[in-house]
Symmetry: C2
Subunit: 248 residues, 2 copies
C-alpha cells in the first residue's frame, strides 16, 4: 500500500522525526545513506520509509530484507520528499533506536565535547574517533544533537561503531579519570605529552573554547602547537589531531 | 551617493563576482568577514561595497579608511543583499586582487591538492597550513576554486598568509622535490616517516583519492594508520594531520 495523503499518521510521525524534540520523545533517529544502513547491518532499523520510485525499481532489496514487512512504509514520491533531510535523497530512510549508553567504564581513552555546536564537527569527530579506535566520545548536554541528520551524515557509519555517552560536565569530575583541558597557554604540547589510560581530553566550543568550569577543574592542560598568528584550528581538525596522538 | 538601481553598472559588476567565471576574468575575489578584512590590513582591497545601513551606522569606519573614497560603493540594503554570498552578511564586502603566485621555490615542505572538491575542505586545509607554518599549498587546476567565497570564509584570514600556487600534476614531476602520495596499502605510516625539506605530500580527491597519474609517478607513499573498518578520514582532517606531522 502506497501512502499518498498528508494526513496519514505514519507520514506525520516520520516527518516529525526531522525535529529534535520528536526524535528525543520517540528515542529514534534517521539514517539516509543506503551504504550506511548496509554497513550497520547488525543494527536492525525500527522502521524504514521508502519512496514509491525506489520501491518499484527494487533498488534497496537487500536493505528491505532485514526489516519485517509491517515496519516498511512506502510513500508517494511527492510525500517522501518531505521526510528526507538531505537535499538529494536516494529514496530510503531507516529509523533506529538511539544508541548512546551510560558511562560505566573504568579504563580507556575518551574525548569530552564541551558544547560542540556544529553538526559537521560532531559527526567528523565521531568519524575520526572510529578511525583511530578511541574508546568513546562523551558529549555535554548542550552540544548539538548527536542524532541530528547532519551529524549522522558526516559521521558516515561511525556513529554505530563508536561508544557515545552523554554527561554533564560536573559529573566528569566524579570519575576516576584524568581530565585534560585544551588551552593555548600554560599547557603541555600534544607533541610532548604521553597519553595514557584514563585520559579524557576536553574539546571546547567552536567560539568560546573549553567552559570556565572545566578550565578551573581540569587535572592538566594540553595545546596543539600552532602559529601565534592563527587563533585556533577547526574543532574537528583539533579533536582529530588529538585523537591521532592519543592512540599512537 | 547611494546606488539603488539594478541597472547600475557597479552593481552588475560586483554581483557578477559571485560567479567563478567573472572572478577569473577580473582576477578578483571577495571577502565578507570584517575581521578578516581587518586582519589582512596589508592587503588593500581594490573595491569595497557596503550596505546603506552599515554605512549610516558608521560600523566599518576603520576598514573604509584603508581604501580611496572612489573605490567605495554604497548600495541600498535591498541591492546589497544580492552582492553577498554569506547567508547573513554584516553589510560589507571587500574585493581583492588574486593572491596566488608562481612556484619558484627550491626548498620547503608543501601539500599538493589533487582535485579537492569541497570549498570547506580547501579552506580548512589552508587554515591548518597557516597554523603549522607549512611553506605553501599547491592546487591542481581541477580543484574547487580557491577564491570561492566559501573557501575564503573557511580559511579565515589564512588565505592571505599561506603561499598558494596552481600547478598541473604533470608539472609536479619536473620539480626537484620528493612527491609523496597518500595510499592505504604499501605505504609508510605518518607515525614512522621522517618528513624532510623538499617533501610534497599529495592529498587526493574526497571520493576518488589520489589520481592514477600521481599514484604511478610518486617517489614514495604514505598512510595515516586508521582502523580497517573505516574507509577514509575527512580530507581536511587527513591533510591537517599530515601537516601537523610534516612540521613537527
Amino acid at each position: 500500500m502506497i501512502i499518498s495523503s498528508k494526513n496519514n499518521s505514519h507520514f506525520k510521525f516520520f516527518k516529525s522525526l526531522k525535529e529534535k524534540k520528536y526524535r528525543q520523545e520517540n528515542k529514534l533517529f534517521m539514517v539516509e545513506k543506503p551504504v550506511v544502513i548496509e554497513e550497520a547491518i547488525e543494527f536492525v532499523p525500527e522502521y524504514i520509509s521508502i519512496s514509491e520510485e525506489a520501491y518499484n525499481e527494487n533498488k534497496f532489496e537487500e536493505i528491505l530484507k532485514i526489516v519485517d514487512k509491517e515496519r516498511i512504509f512506502i510513500f508517494s514520491d511527492n510525500l517522501f520528499k518531505n521526510l528526507a533531510d538531505a537535499v538529494t535523497s536516494p529514496g530510503i530512510i531507516a529509523y533506529y533506536k538511539e544508541i548512546h549508553r551510560d558511562f560505566n567504564e573504568n579504563r580507556g581513552k575518551f574525548l569530552y565535547l564541551d558544547d560542540i555546536r556544529e553538526p559537521g564537527n560532531l559527526g567528523g569527530i565521531i568519524r575520526s574517533a572510529d578511525a583511530f579506535n578511541l574508546d568513546g566520545v562523551i558529549i555535554s548536554p548542550n552540544s548539538v544533537d548527536v542524532y541530528n541528520p547532519k551529524t549522522v551524515r558526516s559521521s558516515m557509519s561511525s556513529i554505530f561503531k563508536v561508544p557515545i555517552y552523554f554527561m554533564p560536565r560536573e559529573d566528569l569530575l566524579k570519575l576516576d579519570f584524568n581530565i585534560l583541558a585544551t588551552a593555548l597557554s600554560n599547557s603541555t604540547s600534544t607533541r610532548d605529552y604521553e597519553f595514557k589510560d584514563k585520559d579524557i581530553v576536553v574539546i571546547g566550543n567552536e567560539a568560546k573554547g573549553v567552559s570556565k568550569f572545566l578550565m578551573e577543574n581540569a587535572n592538566g592542560y594540553l595545546n596543539i602547537p600552532i602559529s601565534e598568528s592563527v587563533d585556533s584550528l577547526n574543532a574537528n581538525v583539533a579533536a582529530s589531531i588529538i585523537i591521532y596522538e592519543m592512540m599512537k
